[in-house]
Symmetry: C2
Subunit: 527 residues, 2 copies
């Protein structure tokens, strides 16, 4: 049941006077349920409760936290068709996507639970004492990762489940031992509330402290900024626009005590098409790129927004095929009227730039909130001289850059800001012949892809989802995969600490049987 | 030989018109050599050269980088007595300290070289493909740490070697594969130049690209701020005051592309004295704390600045013994007249606070730049209500806090900002009886010490040197030990990348024989 209320820990609360509703973009009408925005007092209460819960929750063992995460996954599964219906009503996305995204969400939770059960993740490092060392004895030192404190998580517009209330940020922060305060994305507040209730149910059933999770509602930005500025909050996770992420980053950096913000923001996801790829299979790449650009109405952070190639016969044939295929895709519904408006504004701005040629443009007038896909082409020189052409257009849009030669192509790559991904299509010999281009691409991305497309972010330990700014505000971390937990932990050393008072991860007997770096050798042995 | 010039890569440069000299604090007179401040054009040239060196240097293998770091260590050793003499002349510190600190510096370089030779540090993570997985095939994904780009390093006033030109920040950044631009600390610019020349000699002998290391001179802050704002600089390492570190942090956060700043700044290093410690051996703790407070004239970031206990007979006897011993230590020379001035201002400000009682105060008038050690006492209540008493006094000074009971002691701990260290003196049973105090202490520190003193920062993998703000600007990293390299690297994933084009760390055959997480199991096996 959707109450429209905030959850301050286990307590539903709606003392505010500002309200908002979500929109069904397919029907282009408001959904019935009404949400009450969190007041400043409610934000403060949630942050204080999280701070009070922190010492209790950080002392909960990894195995118990694993049970909690498994229980959350089960509770989300138990939401069944209700969740799917609300999800679709609030996003315009099809039921199959809801089910797929739910599987990704519960899969992430279970992967973190598995990580906690195994226990190796804490980076346990031990150097034993050398009492007779000259000129001074060496103490016994043992180090492991501990949680940083309460984390604020902002739901993403384009993943109502996998990057929202129980998404990767929440799962990784709870795994770390950090209480979480979610600021729901207003576009799918109902979906978010259903998931929040599932998390709270799991928390209560597994005896977690009140305040381990809270859920706040707001249509505007004040609640989020207040949360980020609150002294009790020690870290922030965000997925969304550069504008929104940067505002949170700035607020966090300007605090008396600055706190880390991991914001995953914009990315053009350049695809470099080498001639060998077109000689081998231009048709396949046109088909794969068409799907990657238009699936989910192009509303993925890894949608390929730039396709870079060398002018000439091969590339002309390829772009013609790509244009034809893209025009053949029926327009899809976008997540929200605001997102649709931004898409229209973005593609029109880019189309109007000097040197831009429209190659593909869906015909006719689509229904409200449906996005006509578009393909533009510009010469490399135009791209290099016009920053406006570097803007991300969120939706089923891509810009083809036609370079005069490999030198210009290299300049185009070197002109790019940070990206989540960079893709190379071609054969290995041709890739090997251009190490400077590959190196420049690597310096700008979090993930390199060979002969594939960037959409489809695999959830596994070797996934790096992040990248140099503005792909993220801190390229040193990933937002996807178990290593996402590292954003919310810090090392703590124990010097000459009594064995019985050490966390089990660092005790002599290694009771958790985890891998530890002991005197510079990895080992699971007891000391 | 000290030239007084900047090094823009391999080229000495002194085009500026602003000059400064260092001071011999023992003699209270300027040293003879004159330094030329870097101009804006020189800063820009160094940053551009570092950016040009980056793609070359990041491609240098770990084993070759290890040879480079070993060669730096050898070149510093070869500076011999010249280095010791200049070090002492610029710091007022004794020759034995110079020799000890040189050993620490070269030891750090060799530890990073060892880390590079072994190769495990890159956090190699592999998930192999599942081409038949439904509904979509799983790609082959492989992840490892890669360098972030050129790093600016700021020399610390109190460690002319171990935290300066070739200190931990430089060693870890060079190990990561990042070119380094050092802004020398103006108080020991000559020492810094000698070390810089040694680094450049080693770089040339091992064939490193021009720009892998540069060395800039300045007495003011403009050069440092320009460096931090330069688009080519991608990370910053700093050790010094909160004021200085925060200025760099703010400049970095306000860039169009924000960059990570690891600034190690202020710390009070609280020592909690439980009654059991005083019952067992009050005299020993008075002696050890006296040494920890006064060694090096108290100019260590880990000097214990707060000693917290319970009022009563035991604590009164202990503080009397501590006061007597501290008064018996002859005043030492401080690093520089400015540092001495700040010390005098700081201790006088604290002495003047309501409730503060002077317990120990060196008698007589010491020579210029020599610091009379001081011990103050305040009631817990005064400390809790007066933020001025939370200020760090850099020098041989400590504040005793006398708490009415364990409840007040806990409040005192909970009132503290972030710290590098927190120490507990007592027996294990008494420590176990106060978990809330231990937990609150842990939440505020990077290193917990049991029955010891915080000075003496062991260089080993299990050392965490850092902590919540203002101890550092990012508690998620350590500045000491091989894991300090993590500040300068980011994960990069390779998806379906051809084996022959992968870095050796990720190739099927595991040619470097490193430990890798393969399909969620740690292994050194080939695939």
């Amino acid at each position: 049941m959707i109450t429209g209320k905030n959850y301050i820990g286990y307590t539903a609360s709606a003392t505010g006077t500002r309200h908002f509703k979500t929109v069904n973009p397919v029907l282009n009408e408001e959904n019935e349920y009404r949400f009450t925005e969190a007041t400043a007092a409610e934000v403060d209460a949630a942050a204080r409760l999280a701070a009070a819960a922190f010492p209790v929750y950080k002392a909960v063992s990894g195995k118990e936290r694993a049970v909690f995460l498994h229980r959350i996954a089960d509770a989300i599964d138990a939401l069944g068709d209700t969740l799917t219906e609300v999800y679709c009503r609030e996003s315009g996305l099809p039921p199959a996507r809801a089910v797929g995204e739910r599987g990704r969400t519960t899969g992430q939770l279970r992967a973190f639970a598995q990580m906690l059960s195994e226990g190796d993740w804490v980076d346990a490092t031990i150097d034993t004492a050398l009492p007779d060392r000259m000129p001074a004895p060496k103490p016994d030192l043992r180090k492991m990762s501990i949680p940083i404190g309460p984390v604020a998580v902002f739901g993403a517009s384009n993943f109502p489940l996998a990057y929202s209330a129980a998404g990767g940020d929440t799962a990784s922060a709870l795994a770390a031992g950090c209480p979480v305060i979610v600021k729901a994305h207003p576009m799918h507040a109902g979906t978010s509330e259903l998931v929040a209730a599932a998390i709270l149910k799991a928390a209560q059933e597994t005896g977690m402290p009140d305040g381990v999770f809270s859920h706040l509602l707001a249509a505007g930005r004040e609640v989020g900024i207040q949360l980020v500025k609150h002294p009790a909050v020690k870290g922030v996770g965000f997925t969304g626009s550069v504008q929104g992420g940067r505002a949170l980053f700035d607020a966090a950096a300007q605090r008396p005590e600055p706190i880390p913000v991991f914001a995953e923001m914009g990315s053009l996801n350049p695809v470099i098409v080498l001639p060998s790829a077109l000689r081998a299979d231009a048709g396949k790449w046109a088909a794969q790129l068409t799907a990657s650009i238009t699936t989910g109405t192009g509303q993925f952070c890894t949608k390929p927004g730039l396709v870079i190639g060398l002018e000439g016969e091969l590339f002309a044939q390829f772009t013609a095929a790509l244009a034809q295929q893209i025009e053949g895709v029926p327009p899809g519904c976008m997540l929200h009227p605001d997102i649709h408006r931004n898409y229209e504004r973005g593609r029109q701005t880019l189309s109007a730039q000097e040197g831009a040629t429209v190659l593909a443009q869906a015909a006719g007038t689509p229904p409200p909130n449906f996005a006509p896909q578009q393909l533009l082409r510009v010469p490399g020189k135009a791209f290099l001289s016009n920053p406006a052409l570097h803007a991300e257009v969120f939706g089923p849009f891509a810009l083809l850059i036609e370079c005069a030669d490999m030198g210009e192509l290299r300049q185009v790559v070197e002109s790019l800001d940070g990206q989540l991904t960079g893709t190379l299509l071609g054969d290995a010999a041709e890739a090997a012949a251009h190490p400077a281009i590959v190196s420049a691409l690597q310096n700008r991305v979090g993930r390199l892809i060979f002969n594939g497309v960037p959409t489809g972010v695999e959830v596994c330990p070797s996934m790096s989802h992040g990248g140099p700014y503005p792909a993220s505000t801190d390229s040193r971390f990933t937002a996807v995969g178990i290593h996402a937990v590292r954003r919310w932990v810090r090392p703590c050393s124990f010097q000459n600490w009594p064995d019985e008072l050490l966390p089990p991860e660092l005790q002599n007997s290694n009771p958790l049987n985890i891998l530890r770096l002991v005197n510079n050798q990895f080992s699971k042995d007891a000391l």
